[in-house]
């Protein structure tokens, strides 16, 4: 297994597309911290009057919580780790070296959790650094407590680990790279919201709802109009997401992973 894991990590490092994805995750998360700083502090921006500026603690909390926002990239990388094998036909070579396909799946689940973690740690650091730089233009601002950064870091790390795993499970099940990636993104950003609009009670158990529960940091009180209480707390949210990963992987092991390879 350790040899197989090394081989999987090698694939990750060699592919330039993966480094690009890492870069995008950082830029995306940084957009999440920098953009609200600019909006909240502009004199006639839409933020004024509705939300607190960065001179308040609520404003700072809201801005820095977004540093965990690169999680979709961890999910996408997980999907790529699995579906690249089918897209480029390397599955044949991979399964000739390791005929037990479930062993390959497990190695990929582990590799993807590490890769997701790296994505989220990098994008967290990038977003936090960018946020601090942006804040220097808007002195004075409320302090950025270490506890806040720690909470967001924890949310980043766990979401990276877990969503990398979910991505591999989904990729094993769907196999078609474009379908899996666009499906996952559209579901998370659009479809799930529509489903929840009709059946509100199940929302927190659906993937995007669980992700929200996992990455949204609870600061006690906040003046945003959505309430964190509608979502699961990070512990149960993590379990729900791992449950999806296990479900996808188990179904894949009994179906798509067993099929003929051409």
């Amino acid at each position: 297994m350790s040899a197989l894991l090394k081989s999987e990590l090698r694939k990750l490092i060699y592919l330039r597309a993966n480094w690009l994805l890492l870069l995008w995750s950082g830029l995306f998360a940084a957009l999440g911290t920098v953009a609200p700083i600019l909006v909240l502090n502009s004199d006639n921006g839409p933020g004024r009057g509705v939300f607190s500026g960065t001179e308040t603690q609520e404003g700072i909390n809201a801005v820095f919580a977004n540093a965990a926002g690169g999680y979709l990239f961890a999910l996408i990388l997980g999907i790529l780790i699995m579906t690249n094998e089918y897209r480029h036909g390397t599955a044949v070579g991979t399964f000739l070296v390791t005929p037990k396909r479930s062993t390959v799946l497990v190695a990929k689940l582990i590799a993807a959790s590490l890769a997701g973690l790296v994505i989220q740690l990098f994008s967290f650091l990038f977003a936090i650094t960018s946020g601090f730089i942006a804040l220097t233009f808007f002195e004075p601002h409320a302090p950025v407590p270490a506890e806040l950064l720690f909470k967001v870091l924890r949310a980043s790390a766990i979401s990276g680990l877990v969503l990398g795993i979910v991505g591999v499970g989904l990729g094993a099940l769907v196999k078609n790279q474009i379908a899996a990636v666009t499906g996952a993104v559209i579901w998370t950003l659009i479809v799930e919201g529509l489903v929840v609009a009709f059946v509100e009670s199940i929302g927190k158990y659906l993937p995007a709802g669980a992700i929200t529960g996992l990455v949204d940091v609870d600061f006690g009180e906040n003046d945003f109009n959505f309430s964190i209480e509608n979502y699961l707390t990070p512990g149960p949210a993590t379990l729900v997401l791992l449950g999806y990963a296990a479900l996808f992987s188990l179904i894949a092991m009994r179906t798509t992973l067993r099929r003929d390879l051409d």
């Binding site: 036909g89 390397t90 991979t94 000739l96 005929p99």
Partner: protein, 237 residues
């Protein structure tokens, strides 16, 4: 001392409406080059894919070294394969592709330079494979197959895309490997070339075994091409 290294037992594979391989039984002996011949669509690739555990048979079985491929410990140390599909990543270099394979089965990286040398691809080691010609891809596939220094080689049309020089090289390469006591099962359409390369012949047509024997037994004084045409046309008439 030759022994049975590969055995197909009543192997069948059905794809929806096509019976690609039908109750196919045959043996391949060690230390010999066995040609696997048949017209387009005869079922050669399908049978080889079943043998390598890539395709699930509908019925029967295919065994290598006495058991199914998926039961082998460290399979690439025992069996090397060249298939008619790309088994490597187009965005990576030849060497990177080999490193991925080697690290998955704990093969020393010094072996990578050896196999690249072996297939005459050392000069393109650091080029991305998406720019490879058909012949270069075929050589890289052979290098991958040789990575684990296997005693059994399963090659699906390895001569495909090779230039005349490459074909001569392949012939000598296969004969040398067989001389070392290895077992080689090789499918091909190039009958004249096969005549000079193989010791034994399996002929399949429409999924069915139509002839099996030494090249002498099959040819009976005719050229392999004549024998092949007669055997495959007679059966399908």
């Amino acid at each position: 001392m030759s022994s049975v290294k590969i055995e197909f037992k009543n192997l069948s594979k059905r794809y929806k409406d096509v019976l690609a391989v039908s109750n196919f039984s045959a043996q391949v002996q060690s230390g010999r080059v066995t040609g696997f011949l048949g017209p387009n669509g005869a079922g050669k690739s399908t049978a080889l894919r079943c043998l390598l555990g890539l395709v699930n048979p509908t019925g029967g079985s295919a065994a290598v070294n006495g058991g199914s491929y998926s039961q082998l410990q460290d399979p690439i140390h025992k069996v090397g394969a060249v298939l008619d599909s790309r088994g490597f990543h187009p965005g990576l270099t030849a060497k990177q592709n080999l490193k991925i394979m080697a690290s998955a089965s704990d093969i020393n990286f010094s072996r990578i330079d050896e196999v690249l040398e072996l297939v005459d691809l050392a000069s393109a080691a650091n080029k991305r494979t998406k720019g490879f010609s058909l012949g270069m891809k075929q050589r890289l596939s052979l290098a991958i197959a040789m990575l684990g220094d296997p005693e059994i080689l399963i090659l699906d049309e390895p001569a495909n895309g090779l230039d005349p020089l490459g074909i001569v090289w392949l012939r000598e390469f296969l004969q040398k490997l067989a001389g070392e006591g290895r077992t080689i099962l090789v499918s091909s359409h190039q009958l004249a070339e096969m005549q000079n390369t193989v010791n034994d012949v399996l002929i399949i047509n429409k999924g069915v075994l139509v002839a099996q024997g030494t090249i002498k037994e099959i040819c009976k004084g005719r050229s392999l091409e004549e024998a092949f045409l007669e055997l495959t046309l007679r059966k399908s008439a």
